[in-house]
Symmetry: C2
Subunit: 365 residues, 2 copies
């Protein structure tokens, strides 16, 4: 039986509570005998800072590099708003992405039929919505140098960030998007600001070339990032796969997620390149939502996005596609039965807490 | 009688048609005798490129610099998609902003009650919406150097854009936002990505300091730009004034505009600093929507955003506040009577074209 080695990093806020439910789901799949899952816990984000003054320790990084998949909760909270920039909770996430070379961030924005009314958009605009945002995750303005604040001679300050992309970085993320579109509706929209940014010009050229030379069967459209944000609000179902850079991806994927009315439901996968010999790729899975410090510790957080993130690990890291489908169906089944955590509760549904939602999903499995 | 000197730059696509309606409105105010308006036309964008190979000529720039206000239509279209980067239609707009030092871009996102149903959001979320986005317009990644694509020795390409802000640039835009908030609901939300960008860290510090030292009566909140985009979709009425940088402002103002369901209705103002001796400030007024090449020349474009842009000129450049209010009321009045161009038509309203809408607004005045 294949054995997989997971690193669980619950992080801050509701991270611990929702990770507890994921563990039960992992154990359920382990007990079923499809594979053997071994896991270890560690601190990350604010809780790691509190324990040893860094957002992620070297020991944790070593474990993450060795793991088949990292399952990540959420980091941050007002408690750590004042900590030095280099050790702020988010630094852990950025370092994991960079050091594990997780360049491809997959963020599905799916509107569960049972939840369409929770969207702020009119039901008909979001019902059946199924978009996949493919965000470049290790380049762009997130990591480009110089990145600094300098004090000038006259006492004024000057801050610089650098948006930087090379052609190979754009090629590989384009291929990920085109490959995924092939298994979907064969449509890719590439979003940039070529009318203002040179990185947008290069992005546009490279995506166009990769599309033409390697994916003639996939329809490619180019859209300016500002217009893409607008179109997502206006008529989101026009999109299938959207590929975009790190910063635009951050914003566009949040807009897309919010449209679904299912923010507490949405998982994400961050993938590296497949290893040349083993074919395995480093990967980190995390919910799209944050650490929600305002509801932490109350047992009311929605564990579904976190559990669905493990579902993405089954699919993309372990090749257990049937099991991933089973888990997705169990989640949909529980929703169809009317069970709801507070964030997605509507009139006529049955309210429940974090653990009860975990119970229900396991029962449904 | 005070005399004002306007430069009208209709641009491309529907620009010409909607500018024709603005001229009639300007003439109406001129004939009424509140001030004397002199205006001149010129080419800009793709049409300027067709005429003399540049998106804006030096002669036009000289006129713009001398004008009391520039009234700008819209530029661009598929016809010019392949022109060299430096002479693309958008270059005209960027040069006007930069050379006239129009650092403060005011973009109101107002949901006209008569149009609330045109929004993709549920009516109750947008009815009565009145947000003002204050976007920094002459800094950031739009103008920072280096901005280039270089070919490396191995044949790969590398594109760089530079996000750059100095403390005085942030101070002055913060003051514009706080001043405007004072005349509204005294709430400012400042959006950046301080968790990833050093320019976001500096932005946050400076806005905080200006708020504390000079505007203690205005409530200030900080929001991450990705979260701000989400919150705009989720519960837009939580905002009053949003102040943000050039690139985030581009996206957030488009999202806010689209929420209102009134994209064809929304004006914008781009203002410079008041002159130390005359108190006059350079200014450019333009609709938020683009050149809409697909409907150009058909006489069906909505002229309201363009006319309302002249309304902002009355208010911010000419100090004719009563006249600006009169024009805004005339627009609301025509809408309340049920007249609609195609973009905002709904069941039970009276369809009309560009000129008929202009007629109706003048009749209402
Ligand atoms: C926490 C933050 C650094 C992060 C980002 O900006 O990438 C988050 O917003 C995300 O989208 O995963
Ligand atoms: C046309 C383009 C250069 C411009 C911008 O990006 O600023 C436009 O999108 C806008 O918002 O005015």
């Amino acid at each position: 039986m294949t054995s997989f080695n997971l690193l669980l990093l619950p992080g801050d806020g509701i991270g611990t509570e929702i990770m507890a439910e994921v563990k039960r789901v992992i154990d359920w799949f382990g007990a079923r005998g499809v594979a053997s899952f071994e896991y270890e816990h560690d601190l990350v984000g604010g809780s790691a800072y509190d324990a040893h003054g860094k957002a992620v320790s070297e020991a944790t990084m070593a474990k993450a590099l060795a793991a088949d998949a990292v399952i990540f909760g959420a980091v941050g909270g007002p408690k750590w708003d004042g900590v030095p920039y280099d050790v702020r909770p988010e630094a852990a996430l950025l370092r994991l992405r960079k050091d594990l070379a997780l360049f491809a961030n997959l963020r599905p924005a799916i509107c569960y039929p049972a939840l369409a009314d929770a969207s702020s958009l009119k039901r008909e605009l979001v019902e059946g919505l199924d978009i996949l945002i493919v965000r470049e995750l290790t380049g762009g303005v997130y990591f480009g140098e110089p990145k600094e604040i300098v004090t000038l001679e006259n006492g004024q300050k000057r801050a610089v960030d650098t948006q930087l992309y090379t052609s190979p970085e754009i090629e590989r993320i384009a291929r990920v998007a085109f490959d995924l579109a092939r298994a979907r509706n064969k449509r890719v929209a590439s979003a940039e600001k070529r009318n203002v940014m040179k990185s947008g010009v290069l992005w546009n050229q490279i995506v166009t070339r990769v599309g033409k030379e390697e994916y003639a069967d996939v329809a490619l459209e180019h859209v300016l990032a500002d217009n893409c944000a607008m179109q997502l609000v206006r008529r989101p179902k026009q999109y299938d796969v959207i590929v975009t850079d790190n910063l635009f991806g951050d914003i566009l994927s949040d807009v897309a997620a919010m449209l679904t009315g299912s923010l507490g439901m949405l998982p994400s996968a961050s993938l590296g390149a497949p290893d040349a010999t083993t074919g395995r790729r480093k990967a980190l899975y995390e919910p799209v939502h944050g650490s929600a410090p305002d509801i932490a510790g109350k047992g009311i957080a929605n564990p579904i996005a976190m559990i669905a993130s493990f579902g993405m690990a089954l699919r993309y890291s372990f090749g257990l596609v049937a099991e991933a489908d089973l888990l997705d169906r169990a989640i949909a089944g529980v929703l169809a039965k009317g069970l709801r955590t507070a964030d997605i509760a509507t009139a006529g549904t049955t309210p429940c807490g974090t653990t009860a939602m975990g119970d229900a999903i396991i029962a449904e499995l």
